[in-house]
Point group: C2
Chain length 241, copies 2
């Protein structure tokens, strides 16, 4: 270990519509770190039923373990994954994220979770990324969009595309907090040596035809997202003014 | 779509100590498949608190959505991830898996979930794999252990190492059920184009020093696992006799 083992406080937002594959990698990176608390954060800790969907027909049954009110004020990591557009007009959640994010040691935004951090004003002036369909939307909030499918690091902000981005950002932040050796060991424990079975995991790999097909399938959601993001960007301008 | 869209029934075991990163990939592969039900299976659907750990200090707060009693008898997929050794002596769960596994179209075992399928008698005579530390233990149950870090396919059984194995087996089984085009689209949707940050995701990549360090750290758990597997293997021999 290259750093002393200060007790880590990891906070992961689990709103009712959160996309669990986007937060699971950060959980996996820290789940067996010694001397570490993981808080699954929401307004309440009751079991919740996801009620919305953005093309996902099947929510994953997760529930919070720590309320916003009980969340420690010294988070080492604040992680947010994708959710549905209503999160971008949820004042209580945005205020919670803006507060915690202003002093958390590291912020991680995965997939549309980056847009939620941006809507809370936490990416203004930062280079950032999200899922490939939505990268340009980051500019609405004054962030600098970066494409390419890698984790984007700007100061203490780590943002990435969906799913695998969560594992990679999680391991990178673990390395920051506990040293590279601990992160290498975590990467071996989770056997993160992937073999993508079809080789279509990015627009470049998939080619224009498959990419267009996907974009068309998601067009109705993209419109819904676009309108909600526009509203959120206007809200942020007013909040910051 | 190359196949007709028969309604899919996906069953994923979520016992109180299940390691969620091992089931999340199968969930991700099917979560926006049209005309598909996903059942998170356990004895009850109450919120449950994970009580045991195998080196993991932090359980993930998941709960079931479908009881064993309510599980449809025509599962297309039965998926089991890692858990704690007590699952291998849980008669109710092993009987449920043996029954459902005998007629499910596809079986997926991820990490120690393969050993659970094996303990239920479902891998006898099958080539199979699990996490690298435990591969040889599959032979206790009459399975043929395969190392190497890839998804192992033998007839309708798909087994793999932890975490990424879940995404890869999930996509491969989606391709079987819904055709390769659907799987390619799902791989693009989840942007499964990983860039492992430290390149230590297998014993070969990590080298002997780091691998030994990890094995030593897990030695106490390995002993506990070994004893439980031996008991489970004896139980299976009696059950099959």
């Amino acid at each position: 270990m290259t750093q002393a083992l200060d007790r880590l406080q990891i906070g992961i937002l689990v709103d009712p519509n959160c996309f669990v594959p986007d937060i699971i990698g950060v959980y996996t990176a820290f789940c067996d770190a010694p001397n570490c608390d993981i808080h699954f954060l929401w307004k309440h800790t009751n079991p919740q039923k996801n009620t919305e969907s953005f093309g996902m027909l099947h929510p994953f049954p997760v529930h919070a373990t720590t309320t916003f009110a009980d969340c420690p004020q010294n988070l080492d990591v604040l992680c947010v994954g994708a959710s549905t557009p209503n999160i971008w007009s949820d004042e209580e959640t945005l205020a919670f994220l803006a507060d915690q994010g202003s002093h958390a040691k590291y912020l991680i935004g995965i997939c549309a979770g980056s847009l939620t951090l941006a809507a809370a004003g936490l990416l203004t002036g930062y280079r950032a990324t999200t899922n490939f369909q939505a990268i340009e939307a980051l500019a609405l909030f004054g962030a600098i969009p970066v494409a390419g499918g890698h984790v984007v690091v700007d100061r203490n902000r780590f943002t990435a595309g969906p799913v695998t981005g969560s594992f990679e950002a999680g391991l990178m932040v673990l390395a920051e907090l506990r040293g590279k050796e601990a992160a290498k060991e975590a990467e071996l424990t989770m056997e993160y040596a992937p073999h993508p079975p079809f080789g279509t995991g990015s627009p470049e790999l998939a080619g224009p035809e498959l990419t267009q097909k996907l974009m068309q399938r998601y067009a109705p959601f993209a419109n819904q997202f676009g309108a909600a993001l526009q509203t959120a960007a206007e809200r942020l301008m007013i909040t910051k003014a």
